[in-house]
Symmetry: C2
Subunit: 297 residues, 2 copies
């Protein structure tokens, strides 16, 4: 859209599974901007404090608005997802779901807290007000084959729940099918690294994203970048499994992009790269390795 | 010392094990300040790039300057370690030790990099300059019994390698023996969360610390606090084990100190507490839970 006017995808247009057979709801050129209207991760079923997180239809949870077909995107390319703006609703919710969360066995009862948003803060209670830092928990492209729920983060993205993916971040996603078939959802008004109870401040939102096809960058799994930081990320059966993959990716990136030896790259990660927990609860925990760009002269 | 003059402990006075039988090298009153001269973690054996990290005498590694006997400290008390200043030497080193580090099996060869400090930056190479963020990796009191190397972090502190323990932080250590028998060492000029290769920028330093006996605070393992953050921390066989202990401690702290219900505390951790990796390499990996105090109105 050369005139800078953005496309728009309605929150009626959601998918609960990433699938190369999902029909696109919009086709855009590389470089165009789209406003995605996103339902919260509970698919708008939690509206008041008496709405408990029980008897969920697990086939209709964590909706992603889309998918959008990006012209020119081919398997092996990288889709650049530039997060330009996030406008959240006036109210979100945080729930404890029986059987879900990092300490699931210690918190067996369902619990709901409705959280109003006022003046840039999430009103957790009269005494506790959390500055908002909104980001979409789910950014996803279609996998090469099969039909995959959006809930478990994988190489095609999904429920990454990384608060690094906020306004100003470029999320790089590997493309597996023609057109990429991108979707986004699960916005959190705020979340701590870990998302330990299994949900953050889940909220409806409009997310404005520029989608760019990158033909030269080749990646195996998502990466993130801001003006200040470059980040690899990965998931594993355990947090340690995830951390090792993200670390190896960062070492490879430093060798390829900065000309370091393997030992230099490993040692530099030890001295200057933060291994950060993104989430601990989405079946496969996620870790991101965060490199400050300013160390390079 | 009412006149504000600090005591001083020489770098000749070090221990390699925490032990209630170690003779104190200094006795101070609660509230007094001590300048600790600290040798680097390699016990000054790495001075030039040809000094490879091999054939270490593992009985003489990671020295802690001290121990200092704090008058009035009794088992069950908490020792407040106020980190007031850290002056680092003009040169540090980073090494890859065979058999040690997060990717030990993938980096079998010894490797050394001497790293000069210039104008507040660690000169990793001509092209890579890392802003310094000095902190003592090891802060330790004597355990109730036995003789324990300083290398593995435990409830009595030790090699916590958490860059949260920098100037402006209060480190809370549980007291197990009369006088606490505090020691400090292993200063890092800079380190990424994770310390993935097993060493950071290891460096000699002078660390200025105020030691205060707190008779009312009761803790099972170290905690950290700054003007902005309160932090629990823990170690475990895996990073997940460590994270769960630190999280439970934070939940307990929120219940006790802020009057939250158990569910509120768990959910608040999900929305606002960062679960951060401190180190991944010291036999028992360490995680800290970081709570921003500003959320409380």
């Amino acid at each position: 859209m050369d005139d800078g006017k953005a496309h728009r995808v309605s929150m009626k247009d959601v998918v609960f599974k990433a699938d190369c057979n999902n029909p696109p709801v919009l086709r855009v050129q590389s470089g165009e901007t789209v406003v995605f209207e996103c339902r919260d991760a509970f698919n708008q079923t939690i509206q008041k404090s008496t709405d408990l997180p029980i008897n969920f239809d697990m086939e209709r949870i964590n909706p992603a608005t889309g998918p959008v077909f990006v012209e020119g995107a081919e398997p092996g390319d990288t889709l650049e997802v530039h997060i330009l703006a996030i406008d959240i609703a006036k109210q979100g919710s945080c729930c404890i779901l029986p059987g879900f969360g990092y300490l699931a066995s210690e918190f067996p009862e369902p619990w709901t807290r409705i959280i109003p948003i006022e003046d840039g803060k999430a009103i957790f209670s009269e005494e506790v007000k959390i500055p908002i830092n909104p980001f979409p928990g789910t950014l996803i492209v279609a996998p090469a084959e099969g039909s995959h729920g959006t809930l478990i983060p994988k190489e095609y993205g999904g429920n990454m729940d990384s608060r690094a993916c906020t306004v100003g971040t470029i999320v790089y996603l590997p493309v597996f099918v023609k057109g990429a078939l991108f979707g986004v959802g699960d916005v959190h008004a705020a979340q701590g690294d870990g998302e330990v109870c299994g949900t953050a401040i889940e909220i409806d939102a409009e997310v404005t994203i520029k989608l760019v096809v990158n033909k030269t960058k080749k990646i195996q799994r998502p990466q993130y970048e801001t003006n200040e930081y470059f980040m690899t990320t990965a998931w594993g059966e355990t947090t340690d499994d995830a951390a090792k993959i993200a670390l190896r990716d960062m070492i490879d990136w430093l060798i390829t992009n900065k000309g370091l030896t393997r030992e230099e790259a490993y040692a530099l990660c030890s001295c200057a790269v933060d291994m950060r927990i993104s989430q601990l609860v989405d079946i496969t925990p996620g870790v991101r390795a965060v490199l400050p760009k300013s160390i390079f002269t």
